[in-house]
């Protein structure tokens, strides 16, 4: 009678053991997720308006990406590239690292940002920045711009 009862309990004991194993696996997996790091991160921030809605306007790339709390992602060596409707690169922004807010679709950092546009004729750098998806870039400190026009002499009175 006793042995029968033990035999009847065996599946329950096995199930309990398995549940414990699954729980511990899930726990270790959750720990891995908190330190998750992706390489070659890419996400499009904007597309062009119709009729070019299939063409990417702004692309955010990062050498490495690490999720943070609140829907934010830390990007190492990020680049923000803006393209024309025919796919030509018109603006490139580079920084050692930045934070991509996936909810607000903004890119920001306290680090140095370098911006190059018009095929290198216009170069800007500054420390601390915020870029929004409506094409606004704010540089907070130590802004330095270089524009290389054609040589021309200004006449003075």
């Amino acid at each position: 009678m006793r042995s029968k009862a033990r035999f009847a309990l065996l599946p329950l004991i096995l199930l309990g053991g398995f549940a414990a194993a699954v729980f511990s696996t899930a726990l270790s997996r959750a720990q891995q997720v908190t330190s998750m790091e992706a390489s070659s991160f890419r996400v499009q921030l904007e597309t062009h308006p119709p009729p070019n809605e299939s063409v990417i306007k702004t692309l955010l790339e990062g050498k490495k990406a690490e999720p943070l709390s609140g829907g934010k992602i830390l990007l190492i060596e990020p680049r923000v590239n803006r393209y024309t409707t025919n796919g030509t690169l018109e603006v490139q922004m580079r920084s050692p690292e930045c934070i991509f807010d996936t909810m607000q679709r903004t890119v920001s950092s306290t680090n140095l940002l370098q911006v190059e546009m018009a095929g290198g004729r216009l170069f800007t750098e500054g420390r601390g920045f915020l870029q929004t998806t409506n094409g606004v870039l704010i540089l907070s400190n130590q802004v330095h711009t270089v524009i290389r026009p054609n040589r021309r002499k200004i006449s003075t009175p």
């Binding site: 599946p11 603006v91 580079r94 216009l122 704010i138 002499k153 003075t156 009175p157």
Partner: protein
């Protein structure tokens, strides 16, 4: 027992699917509309931009902060703004400029508050101008370049020969090197010189006249 085995199999199946999903999320970007950036500028190109300070054929702007409206190619520099182009130096509190798409230089600049311009004339003498606002426009029409700076708000200019002018506005044609003004108050700095005349010398005043 059969039920138990089915339960076990389904748990394993769900676990393996979850593992695959997480793996793909770790290694890939969000799945929508990704492209390869084939036109990207190299890191070397950027660093050379920073280091090539030797060239004078360029406009340089420094400021505390700035806002760029990339869609419209407008930049607004704020706080302790200093701009240089060759011998010309501009200081102001706020500088707004527009660089046309594909253009090589700003075609429109507005310098606001405490505007100070220092440059040199053709003979290398210093020219100093101030005002509350300076509006610069650059146009090429029918092959002719039109480059004008309009200074307003207690505008003042001191030219290389030391002459100075208060007017509002002062329209400074940078291409031609001319100035047009409204209601001017001009001070000409004239250095007095020895003037020789035909007046007889005083020693000859007493002669043998009859």
């Amino acid at each position: 027992m059969k039920t138990f085995l089915i339960l076990l199999a389904s748990i394993f199946l769900s676990l393996s699917v979850q593992a695959q999903t997480e793996l793909s999320a770790t290694n890939a970007a969000p799945a929508t509309n990704l492209i390869s950036a084939t036109n990207s500028i190299s890191a070397d190109a950027l660093s050379s931009s920073t280091n090539s300070i030797a060239s004078t054929n360029r406009i340089e702007i420094f400021s505390d902060s700035a806002e760029f409206l990339i869609e419209t190619n407008i930049a607004v520099y704020t706080g302790n703004v200093r701009a240089t182009y060759g011998e010309t130096k501009l200081n102001c509190d706020v500088l707004t400029l527009h660089v046309p798409k594909g253009g090589e230089r700003p075609d429109y600049m507005v310098a606001d508050r405490n505007v100070i311009i220092d440059t040199k004339d053709k003979s290398g003498k210093p020219v100093h101008a101030t005002g509350d606002q300076g509006v610069y426009t650059y146009k090429v029409e029918n092959g002719a370049t039109n480059e004008i700076m309009v200074l307003s708000g207690d505008a003042f200019i001191r030219t290389g020969d030391g002459s100075s002018l208060h007017a509002d506005p002062i329209i400074w044609n940078l291409g031609k090197g001319t100035i047009n003004v409204a209601s001017p108050h001009m001070i000409i700095n004239q250095v007095p010189k020895e003037i020789s005349t035909n007046k007889p010398a005083s020693t000859l005043s007493h002669t043998n006249q009859p």
